[in-house]
Amino acid sequence: MTAQQTITAEADAKPQDATMTGAEILVRALIDQGVEVIFGYPGGAVLPIYDALFAEPRLRHVLVRHEQGATHAAEGYARSTGKPGVVLVTSGPGATNAVTGIVDALMDSIPLIVITGQVATHLIGTDAFQECDTIGITRPCTKHNYLVKSVEELPRIVHEAFHIATSGRPGPVVIDMPKDVQFAAGIYKGPKEVEFAHGYHPRTKAEPSRIAEAVAMIAQARRPILYTGGGVINSGPRAAELLRKFAEMTGAPVTSTLMGLGAFPASDPKWLGMVGMHGSFESNNAMHDCDVMIAVGARFDDRVTGRLDAFAPTSRKIHIDIDASSIGKNVRTDIALVGDAGSVLEDLIAAWEARKLSMDQAAIAEWWRQIETWRARDSFRYRKDDKLIQPQHAIQRLYELTRGKDVYITTEVGQHQMWAAQFFHFDEPNRWMTSGGLGTMGYGLPAAVGVQIAHPNSLVIDIAGDASVQMTMQEMSTAIQHDLPIKIFILNNEWMGMVRQWQQLLHGERYSHSYSSSLPDFVKMADAFGCVGLRADHPDELDDKIREMISVNRPVLFDCRVTKLENCFPMIPSGKAHNEMIMAEEARDLGSIIDDAGKRLV
C-alpha cells in the first residue's frame, strides 16, 4: 500500500446505510462477497471504480497486460481455489478482449464475475467512444449477464451475480456498468438484505427413486466403469473424497476427462488414466467394453466419445450432472441423476450401504484381468532418444523432479497439453488448470499468474508450447510486477505441433502455415522481461536445468528444445471407436486408417 492509499483508506469507516457512489457500492459488495483479488485493466469507462479501489486496501488489484490475460488469470485463481474469479475491464475493447476468457469459463464451468465499464446510460446506442454492445456480445457466452441501469439495483445485481456464478453449474456472469451509474449516489445493501429478482434455483439433490435404481444397476454390473469429469472438481474436495470411497466400494476402475484430472488419485491402482482421443489404451477399451458406465460430472464431449454409434455399445449408462441439459445431449442415458456430484455420490453411497449391496467379486476380478492386459500395452510408451530431448521425456522428468512438492500445473493447448495430461500425474483436485472445452491457446501463462496469486508459496508451472505461449506472452510482465515466480516450461519444437500432426496424418503432409518461423530467442526475451531464461538442448542437461528452474524464486521462462516431429499417441482417429485406437508404432500410414468422413471432422 502506498502512503497515499494509507491516508485515504477510510472507506470502511462509512456506516452501511449512508449514501455511497455506485463505484463504492460495487467495491463494498465485492468485499462482502469475500473477494480478495481482482484481475483488471483500467480505462475511461471504469475510472470511478478504479478511484474507489485506490482507497481500498482490502482488495488486491492485479494489473494485467491484456484483458484476455485478466480472464484467464481469474480462471486459474478460481479453478485452484474453488472461489469465483473477479475481472474488471473497461468498455469497448476492454470488454471484447475479455470475451475469449469468458467463453473459456463458460465451456469449462468456471465461476467468474466480469465487471465491464460501459459508456454513460444517455450515450448508450450513440456509437460513443469505446462503446460496444457488451451485453449483446456476451449474452451467448455467459451463464447470465446484467446491464446496470440504475444505482438502486446495483447491490442486488452484484450479490445475485455471485450466487448465479457459483451455484448450480458454475459459469461466468458479466455485469456491465455504465459510467454514470458508477458516479450516481445510492444506498448499499448487503448480501442478506437484497431480494433476488430471478427464480433461479438449481437442483442439487437427485431424486431418491433414481438413486435406488442406480445402485441396483451398479450392483448387477460385471464390467463397471466410473467416467468422471470437471463436475467432481467443481463440486469441491468432498466430492473427490466420496469418489474415492465409491470406487473403493464397488471396485470399479476410474477414468476421467481432461477437466477431471486430479479428482481421483493417479497413484491409485484403480486409476486408468485419461479417456478420449489421446487417452490411455486401457481407459478407452474399458469404456468401450463396460456394461455399466457411471458418468460423474462429465458431459460426453466429442473428444471423449469418438464415434457415437460405436461408443460403449454394450453399456447401460448412469449420468450424474448438475446441468439437466448435459444429460442426453450427445449420448442417451438410462438413468439421469440431476444433482451436484458430491451430493449424488453421497446419496449413492448411503443407498448402497443401507441395502448392503455388493458387487459380483468374481466378475470384477475377471474385468480387472482384462483391464490389466490392456494396461500391459503401455500405450504412452515412446521412443527414447539420448541425443535429443523427447517432449514426453521432458514432462516425465518435470513430474518426477517436482514430485512431493506443492505443485500446480497449467497448460496451453496442443500436443504439450496432451503430453502433460498423459505424463504428469495428480493425486488431488484443483492442481490441474487447462482449457478443455474451448481449447484456448494462450490460457496457461495468465492462468499460472492467477494460480500463483492464490498460492504464493507453491510451485506453479505452465507447461507450454512455443506457439501457444506467444499468444499471451505479455503477461510475463504481470508476473514480474506482482512478484509471481511462475515457471513457464516451453516444449519448443518450432511447430504448432498438433496442427502439424494433423497435417501429417490427415492432409498428405502438406504443412500449411504451421511452422513457427522467426521464433523469438526465449532466453533473451526472458531477460528483457526481467525473468530468468533457461534453455535445455540435450537430455543430459535437462534434469539440472529443471532443478535450477524449481530453485529460482523468480519467474522463469524455460526453453526446452525438444524433437521437432514427435506425434502425440495413442490416438483415436476421427470417426473411429474407442477400441480402434492407434498406437505410436502403428502410426506410419494413418491416411489409410482414417476415411474421408473422418477427415471432415475436427
Binding site: I164, L308, D309, G328, R332
Partner: protein
C-alpha cells in the same frame, strides 16, 4: 425403442429421424434482452422457430409469457426444453403439445380482394369458419379468424383463389384446460 446413435456429433443429422412439432409455453422474467436470450439460444444451437409469441402477462411479477413453436426429433425437443429451463430468466417451461389439456390458438387477419361471385363466396366461407368481418370496402374484406393453426391454414387455402392479398398471423398462443395454473 431408442433411436440409433448418429455416427458422430458432427453428423447430428436428424433428417433421418422423425421430426415433431412442439409448442412450449415459457414464463420468463420480463427484463431487457430476455427475448434476445431466448431467440439467441435457438439460433446458437440450430433449433427452428416455427412461430413465436411474446407479451408481458403479469406486470406486478414482471413476467412475460412466450409461446414458441418448434420442430425436432424427440432428442432435440428434450434438449430444447432442458436448455430453456436452464436460462436464468426462465421461471417455468411447459410442453403444451404433450399436455392432453393443452389448448393452442392463433389469431389471423386476412385481406381478400375481389368482386362478383368470388366476393360472395369469400363471405360465405368466412361464415362457415366463423371469421369476423372487421373491415370492408366495395372490393375487399378484412377477416379476423381465431382457431388452431391448421384451421387458419385451411381458411387461407380457401381464400387464395378468391383474391387473398395479405395475411397477418399472431403465432400460437396456448393455455391448459381446467382450473390449474401453469
Amino acid at each position: 425403442m431408442p433411436d440409433p446413435q448418429p455416427a458422430s456429433v458432427y453428423d447430428l443429422d436428424h433428417a433421418v429421424e422423425a421430426e415433431n412439432l412442439a409448442t412450449y409455453a415459457v414464463l420468463v422474467d420480463n427484463e431487457p434482452g430476455v427475448l434476445h436470450r431466448l431467440v439467441g439460444l435457438f439460433a446458437a444451437r440450430g433449433y427452428n422457430i416455427e412461430s413465436l409469441t411474446v407479451a408481458e402477462t403479469d406486470r406486478r411479477a414482471h413476467t412475460s409469457r412466450v409461446t414458441i413453436v418448434t420442430r425436432g426429433t424427440l432428442q432435440v425437443l428434450a434438449q430444447i426444453e432442458a436448455q430453456l429451463e436452464k436460462m436464468v430468466s426462465t421461471r417455468h417451461v411447459q410442453d403444451v403439445t404433450r399436455d392432453p389439456n393443452g389448448v393452442q390458438r392463433e389469431l389471423a387477419l386476412i385481406k381478400v380482394r375481389g368482386s362478383g361471385p368470388d366476393r360472395v363466396e369469400a363471405l360465405r366461407v368466412a361464415d362457415i369458419f366463423r371469421a369476423k368481418v372487421i373491415d370492408t370496402t366495395q372490393e375487399s374484406f378484412v377477416f379476423e379468424l381465431t382457431g388452431a393453426s391448421s384451421k387458419i391454414d385451411k381458411f387461407v387455402d380457401l381464400m387464395r383463389p378468391l383474391g387473398l392479398v395479405e395475411l397477418s398471423r399472431t403465432g400460437v398462443l396456448s393455455i391448459t384446460r381446467g382450473a390449474e395454473a401453469m
